[in-house]
């Protein structure tokens, strides 16, 4: 139930983003690629290749000049996780770059302003549900975790 609400919010937000021509999501450049080291976390020095069948793949990206580290393991696809890690790194680096005191990326600033505008238009209650892109995701993940735990508990008891 809660989940669907969040989905529809982020969908609305995306439409709003398009309508209002917000600054694009930060891009991972060739230069960033050369400034980063990538590590795959494979779980140590045990068996490899045909001897073992791993189901998860964790990617860690480190930006040497700034020391920022991001990891991604959200999907089963290594390729997808690599792309996701790069997107996040680009986001972090852009945040670092912006010297507006708040450490916010232009996209986030615009999103926040958009959110404030919507606040005026809508009732206080519903506008509260508007969250920044990242926060929505974090919360969604957290809820999924809780849900998983609940199911796990059910399975273990029954």
């Amino acid at each position: 139930m809660i989940r669907t609400i969040h989905r529809s919010i982020s969908a609305t937000a995306i439409r709003a983003v398009k309508r209002n021509h917000l600054p694009p999501r930060s891009k991972f450049t060739e230069q960033m690629e050369t400034e980063c080291t990538e590590v795959f976390i494979h779980g140590g020095s045990g068996a490899g290749g045909q001897k073992i069948n791993k189901t998860n793949s964790k990617v860690q990206l480190k930006h040497i000049p700034s020391g920022i580290v991001v990891t991604s393991q959200i999907t089963r696809s290594r390729d997808q996780n690599r792309k996701d890690a790069r997107e996040r790194m680009a986001y972090e680096l852009q945040k670092l770059d912006i010297d507006n005191g708040s450490g916010e990326a232009p996209r986030d600033v615009a999103l926040r302003q958009l959110k404030q505008q919507n606040k005026k238009a809508k009732s206080k209650k519903s506008s509260k549900k508007y969250q920044l892109h990242k926060e929505v995701n974090d919360q969604l993940k957290h809820e999924q975790d809780l849900q998983d735990q609940e199911i796990l508990r059910k399975l273990l008891n029954g």
């Binding site: 290749g49 045909q50 998860n56 290594r78 998983d148 199911i151 796990l152």
Partner: protein, 314 residues
């Protein structure tokens, strides 16, 4: 329940999430059965029915090896190196890539997917995939269909053709006869292979129970036979210009290196877990300058040090 195959709670939780994504959380009976299977070491990919490989979604079925990340890694390194070499846009001649022991078809299908845009009216790509197992043949056909012909109609939109054939690779006359059917394009530009490479004595000792119990032995157990076949037949009878073979032990790679003719350049690459993972080689007297591909291939992977040095001194 999922802890049987997962070492940590976050891993187990993540797997549970994937199982829920597939089976939903409402139908708890199906989900419960899936968890139970997992508890009995059934590979997750057989339960979910697929494994992502590069940009592709590769269907997995019992009886066929599940693609590994190591294979995905070198395969994408290779296609990346081909793209960067610019060899294809510049030459007007057709290309042929052959994958032996193709299993699910993950390697040749990725080769097609990553390079199909390079082939135009004048240059055609022929990709061949061979395996001895009928289940693997069927699955690789299915994977071709679901990833291409149901989506992009490969033959209509790209100048690429794909052919799958049941063949015993260790049977030389059978191979020669198969190759003899080709009139247009005989010489193979790149031969790829991930042969069964786990030596018999290591099978019980080192192989994870999920692999040992559920994946086919025909796909796993082997030692030097396919590497010997590479030297004797494919290189020996001058059927190929270059090759990349996955390896399980350094001994297998050294066997290949020690038996290559002097006109061949070779190297051993490491995977990102620092294990020796591939042996590659190319004929420096071939019409095409394959160093343009393999110098980059060497860089994208780490190179097994002492071999890299001996390579330079050659």
């Amino acid at each position: 329940m999922l802890m049987a195959e997962n070492r940590t709670i976050p891993h187990a939780r993540q797997e549970l999430r994937w199982l829920i994504q597939k089976f939903g959380s409402n139908n708890s009976a199906t989900l419960f059965r899936a968890c139970l299977e997992r508890n009995r070491h059934v590979p997750l990919q057989y339960i979910l029915g697929s494994q992502p490989f590069g940009m592709l979604d590769i269907k997995c079925k019992e009886g066929v090896l599940i693609p590994r990340w190591e294979t995905e890694e070198w395969c994408l390194n290779l296609t990346d190196s081909i793209k960067r070499s610019k060899l294809i846009n510049s030459g007007a001649s057709n290309w042929k890539i052959m994958d032996l022991c193709t299993g699910s078809g993950c390697i040749p299908l990725t080769m097609i997917n990553e390079t199909k845009n390079l082939f135009s009216n004048q240059t055609r790509l022929y990709v061949d995939a061979l395996d001895y197992s009928p289940i693997a043949i069927d699955l690789s056909k299915l994977n071709f269909k679901t990833n291409f012909d149901n989506k992009v109609a490969l033959s209509q939109n790209f100048n690429v053709s794909f052919n799958i054939q049941k063949c015993n690779i260790l049977n030389e006359p059978e191979i020669i006869q198969y190759l003899g059917k080709y009139k247009e394009k005989r010489k193979i530009n790149i031969l790829t292979c991930n042969p069964p490479y786990i030596p018999h004595h290591e099978f019980i000792k080192d192989v994870r129970s999920s692999v040992r119990m559920y994946e086919p032995k025909l796909a796993l157990i082997g030692n030097l036979e396919f590497y010997k076949n590479l030297n004797d037949l494919w290189v020996g009878k001058n059927l190929i210009d270059s090759f990349v073979y996955e390896i399980g032990t350094l001994e297998q790679a050294l066997y290949v290196q020690n038996n290559l003719p002097s006109s061949w350049i070779s190297g051993i690459t490491l995977d990102s877990n620092n294990k020796a993972r591939c042996i590659f080689g190319y004929n420096k007297e071939a019409n095409i300058d394959y160093s343009k591909i393999f110098n980059h291939f060497k860089q994208t992977a780490k190179v097994y040090a002492s071999i890299a040095n001996s390579d330079v001194t050659k």
